[in-house]
Amino acid sequence: MLLGPSLGLSAVLFSLGVAGVLFRRNAIVIFICIELMLNAVNLSFIAFAQQLGRSGQVIVFFVMAVAAAEAAVGLAIMIAIYRHKDTIDVREINLLRG
């Protein structure tokens, strides 16, 4: 019964995530915002599952597992880039262009 507002909330969260990715410069913060977007989607899954039965909630677990895997790999990559350039400020990382 609370489908409307929960979808609205997840949409707001999602757009916040997108805004974060757009304006922040630090790679890790960007990644956090992406996680925020994923959780917004989880929220909407839960909202829909509340109406359509349990299968929605199962999907949330898949999403979380995937997010975890991504986090591990992402942070490893950020460490690698930090080792090279002593910064993970996105604006310094622009060797590849043109």
Binding site: V66, V73, A80, I93
Partner: protein, 503 residues
């Protein structure tokens, strides 16, 4: 032997997933092997060869499934059992196999000692097989994520190169960002159709008037955004040039060929099997995506001096051609996609093999001028590169032309005459950067006498180049059977539930 599998029973599902299981099994065994033997070059070569064996094995299983035309009894719940899946699996496996063979020599020369490289390749391939074969949005999403994560790492595999790290980071951030969009799309569609199974969605969309259901439209939109990113359609393509340029060459080839093919397969399966009845909604968008991608991809490639970066932009152009096939919105288009994807995989693998050979250790900036006079010193290599360039250009006598002809036919049959003209005009633009490569090799004198001493294609890579060039020419001259197979594969994309709906 067992033409029909009942997906209801767990045993049936397991049987249906046999190819994926075989590959995962190999990958796991190799993981254990790598744990012990990861210190020397030979270890890496061994892992490489075993990976190749694993891939061939899987391919054999797929062929068995395909030849005996295994079908699903009733609703295809998780995995689809049709020609389209088997063919995409074969294309993806071929791409992976060629990448493995190329990497054997390349890793040694670049002194990258990371046996896990081949494992990641296998895992990425499994992910792609799920994308191509998944009959459920979530299965496709999982396959996509599995592939993406493996390829993020593969892109950044060379720890000593800052370019590799930057490529991996960019790919990771953009990739995650895009999968969030994809997931949001899946959520919305799940929300309003009550299911994530493609066949059932097809039933839902067939009976519903889309005008007043904006949320579902947004869902479809989000889905398209996610796929457009994966497929590197303009304006979501910005990551492609930098990642392709930074990543090691075999991985770039892998991404350009196999990853793109799998992404397209997933997109096609979702659009045709799930959103079949509402083609009018998405064909217009795909139409625009195709047109813009072709134009921008080819134009920017014209301005590139670095050969690898030029091939990156050209792969965006080719994504545009494949989008034209998708834009036709018919199973005929799917057939066109299958043939073109197969031909494109071969061309790109060959071209990048020679780019890898021509580039010196670590030296990234391989310009077109560096190929000057290659024909004098390495005639066979130059000849092969010419075949690849002509095929990429779509010149008659090569598989590229037959692919383009197939796509043009699909577009014209779906009354997209204008898109066909855009395709043809951008092909002319592409001649603007493919021909100078041939010109440099054959018509310009080499910079110095020992200019191309270092250009050596050894062992497996030599076979890759030779085989791909020959296959391209044979397909170009005798495309009959291959086209029929692709056409059959495409026709399989009709929804498994066989509900006849007046189109």
């Amino acid at each position: 032997m067992w033409p029909v599998i009942d997906l209801g029973l767990p045993g049936g599902v397991a049987l249906a997933l046999l190819p994926e299981l075989v590959l995962t099994g190999c990958a796991l065994c190799l993981t254990i092997l790598v744990a012990w033997r990861h210190r020397s070059e030979e270890d890496q070569l061994l892992v490489g060869y075993l990976a190749a064996v694993g891939l061939v094995l899987t391919a054999a299983v797929v062929v068995v499934f395909w030849v005996s035309d295994v079908r699903a009894g009733g609703l295809e719940s998780m995995i689809a059992l049709d020609g389209f899946r088997y063919l995409t699996d074969l294309i993806v496996l071929l791409g992976a196999l060629l990448t493995v063979l190329l990497s054997l020599g390349y890793l040694g020369r670049e002194r990258i000692l990371v046996p896990e490289y081949f494992l990641l390749l296998l895992y990425a391939t499994v992910g792609m097989m799920f994308m191509g074969g998944g009959a459920d949005l979530i299965v496709i999403f999982l396959g996509l994520e599995l592939m993406s994560v493996s390829v993020y790492v593969l892109a950044g595999i060379d720890r000593r190169s800052v370019f590799c790290a930057e490529a991996a980071l960019k790919y990771f951030l953009m990739g995650a960002f895009a999968s969030a969009f994809l997931l949001y799309g899946i959520a919305l569609i799940y929300g309003f159709t009550g299911t994530t199974n493609l066949g059932l969605i097809y039933v839902q969309t067939a009976t519903w008037v889309f005008q007043e259901n904006t949320m579902l439209l947004i869902g479809i939109g989000m889905l398209l955004v996610g796929f457009a990113f994966k497929v590197a359609a303009v304006p979501f393509h910005m990551w492609t040039p930098d990642v392709y340029d930074g990543a090691p060459t075999p991985i770039t080839a892998f991404m350009a060929a196999a990853v793109k093919a799998a992404a397209f397969a997933a997109m096609l399966r979702v659009l045709l099997e799930a959103l079949g009845p509402v083609t009018v909604v998405w064909t217009e968008i795909v139409w625009w995506l195709a047109a813009i991608t072709m134009v921008v991809g080819n134009l920017v490639a014209l301005a590139q001096r670095n050969l690898k970066r030029m091939l990156a932009y050209s792969s965006i152009g080719h994504a545009g051609y494949l989008l034209t096939a998708v834009a036709s919105g018919t199973d005929f288009g799917a057939g066109a996609f299958l043939f073109y994807a197969f031909a494109y995989t071969i061309m790109t693998m060959g071209a990048f093999a020679i780019v890898a050979a021509a580039g010196r250790r670590g030296e990234r900036d391989l310009r077109v001028e560096d190929l000057n006079g290659l024909a004098k010193r390495r005639p066979w290599l130059a000849l092969a590169m010419m075949v690849f360039m002509l095929s990429l250009l779509g010149f008659p006598g090569t598989a590229g032309f037959i692919g383009k002809w197939y796509i043009l036919s699909a577009a014209l049959e779906a009354q997209n005459g204008l898109l066909a003209v855009v395709l043809v005009s951008t092909t002319v633009i592409s001649a603007g950067y493919y021909l100078p490569v041939i010109m440099a090799m054959f018509m310009k004198p080499p910079a110095s006498d020992d200019a191309h001493e270092h250009v050596t294609v050894t062992g497996a890579a030599r076979w890759v180049v030779a085989a791909t060039a020959v296959v391209l020419l044979v397909l170009g001259v005798w495309p009959g059977p291959a086209m029929d197979v692709a056409g059959q594969g495409g026709r399989d994309l009709r929804p498994s539930v066989m509900i006849t709906v007046s189109k």
